[in-house]
Amino acid sequence: MISLVLLQRLVRGHRIRLLVGLAVVVVWSLLFPVIYRAFVDQLDGRPTPPGNFSTLSGTISVGFIHPISIALFGILSAGLTVGSISGERQRGTLELLLSRPIPRRTIMATMMLEGWIGATLTSTAYVLGTIIGAQIAGVTDELVVEQLPPLFAAGALFWGSFATFAIAASGSFDRTPPAMAITVGLIMANYIVEVLGSFWDVMEPYQFLSLFNHFSPEDILEKTADPAKALIFVTLTLLSAAWAFYKFPRRDLAAPN
């Protein structure tokens, strides 16, 4: 079901992006416990105002869904898969790959796995950065350590579902730009609905439509998250994978232009 030779080549092809991206995620995520500590120090014993930065969990949560994080996570998960099939098709290397005795579903599954590896590594890097940041800032005692594995799993699932959507889009088009537009469009539309709903009353009733609304790192860290919400991302993953495995093997792959 998976071609290890292909997986090795895919990861190798993206290794610079992965290494640099993961290093940036670690640095980015360690900033938030430090910011939290600086915020608390500035208050100097005064009552903490309401808001995300009033708790370490809230601050970490902001880091998880900050636009910069979304760009980073997106590049390292959906970004790996969105150009995998359509990119090979556009370069003309897909027919070389398909000339080997590998079923199309195996190619699809291997490329999908690479996206999940990216999402998992990114989530790991974020949690790792958070731990390092908490150590640097001296707020380790406020960190709910036992909730870090669920946070890691939720992050990996959230971005893994987008990676699966991206590979489904990639396998459906001959060129990367349409697949990229659809994937970025999905992420942006969800994010915009979430952001608008958070400060605009008119949009608030529709906030639940956003996938970001169902991914709350703060709730996970504070043990108030509803585990059933994970089903939303599992469903998105399954639907995308079903489409990808249905569509790609049936597609005609004409000669690249």
Partner: protein, 357 residues
């Protein structure tokens, strides 16, 4: 499941239509039979359907109707099994730029799951050194990349080689080396199916050739047969003007011109069957010099296209039905001279003709 393994490739009314209503007919009822151990040429202009046929055989495209078997396996149901036994070089071959030549070849071989049996032999023939393979592929010239493409297609010694424009980007010397490699493989019982726009190449090494146009097969013949039925170009110098030359059946484009003291120059196109009688008439008029050029495959090829109107392909009676003829030994074929008669004066005549063009 294995079907009819008598043929390396067999298509039956294979069609591929594109578009919402199937209005683009890339391939129309293609019937093709390629025998094992054959070096088969696939000719046609751009957009004729060559690549569509190849891509259908490899399972990249799904046939609209008809069927095709490769090595006795159905191209739709057994695509993976077919690819296990086939080597393929696509037209406009591209590579993963971040790899070295060696890494690329190792990767492609690993994906094929077969051992590399011929890499060194092919590298030697194509003058690819180990030091070249260590360099990143992005630094390679077009020709070097094509050589890498040939190696990846052939190195596992597949039963069937499907090559789409294999000589693309190769210099004439390397083209000849590649042709020798292909002949070598065929001599060992492998089958080679290749499309080319280099008619001379197909003519030199192929046993049989299929010509496609507008997605339809217009000829499927041995190269010899294809050429044999085409016209010959005759140039002659005779002492005096022969009588009733125009009445000779099978002669066309007759030109008679006085050359003064040298005699009368006659040029025409002749069908093979008309040549003996025509030469007799020339002899009766005091034949001084004679040049008979066998039609090249290119002329045969152009003849098919020249005779066809926009949507109708007129097929010569002898090739209207795909007939298979006795296969020639490729090496012998390569050595067959094209010119029937050539004397010094005739050479001068030919040179003069070229100059006047």
């Amino acid at each position: 499941m294995p079907n009819d393994s008598t043929y390396a490739i067999q298509t039956s009314a294979l069609s591929k239509h594109y578009g919402r209503n199937g209005e683009i007919k890339a391939l129309q009822t293609l019937n093709l039979e390629v025998r094992p151990g054959e070096l088969f040429g696939f000719l046609g202009p751009n957009g004729a359907g060559k690549s569509t046929a190849i891509r259908t055989l490899l399972g990249f495209l799904h046939p609209t109707s008809g069927s095709a078997n490769v090595l006795g396996l159905d191209v739709v149901r057994d695509s993976v099994a077919i690819r296990r036994r086939v080597g393929y070089l696509p037209s406009g071959f591209t590579v993963y730029d971040y790899m070295s030549g060696r890494e690329f070849l190792d990767h492609m071989r690993a994906l094929s799951g077969r051992p590399s049996l011929l890499r060194h032999r092919i590298m030697e023939a194509l003058e690819l050194s180990e030091s070249i393979l260590k360099r990143p592929v992005r630094d390679y010239s077009r020709g070097m990349r094509q050589k890498i493409g040939v190696v990846q297609a052939m190195e596992t010694d597949p039963e069937l080689l499907i090559l789409d424009e294999p000589s693309e980007g190769l210099d004439p010397l390397m083209q000849r080396s590649l042709q020798e490699l292909l002949l070598e493989r065929v001599a060992l019982g492998r089958t080679v199916f290749f499309s080319s726009h280099l008619i001379s190449e197909v003519e030199r090494i192929c046993n049989r050739v299929a010509i496609v146009r507008g997605g339809q097969l217009v000829a499927l013949e041995s190269v010899e047969s294809l050429v044999r039925f085409r016209r010959r170009r005759i140039e002659a110098i005779v002492a005096r003007k022969p009588l009733r030359l125009t009445a000779t059946v099978g002669i066309s484009h007759l030109k008679v011109a006085s050359e003064g003291k040298a005699g009368v120059r006659i040029s025409c196109d002749a069908e093979a069957a008309a040549i003996p009688n025509f030469i007799k008439r020339l002899q009766s008029a005091g034949l001084r010099d004679l040049l008979v050029e066998a039609a090249s495959l290119e002329e045969a090829f152009m003849s098919y296209y020249g005779n066809s109107t926009r949507n109708t392909v007129q097929m010569a009676p002898e090739i209207a039905t795909p007939i298979t003829r006795t296969r020639r030994a490729p090496a012998k074929r390569a050595a067959t001279p094209r010119k029937v008669t050539m004397r010094p004066a005739a050479r001068r005549l030919a040179a003069k003709r070229k100059t006047s063009r």
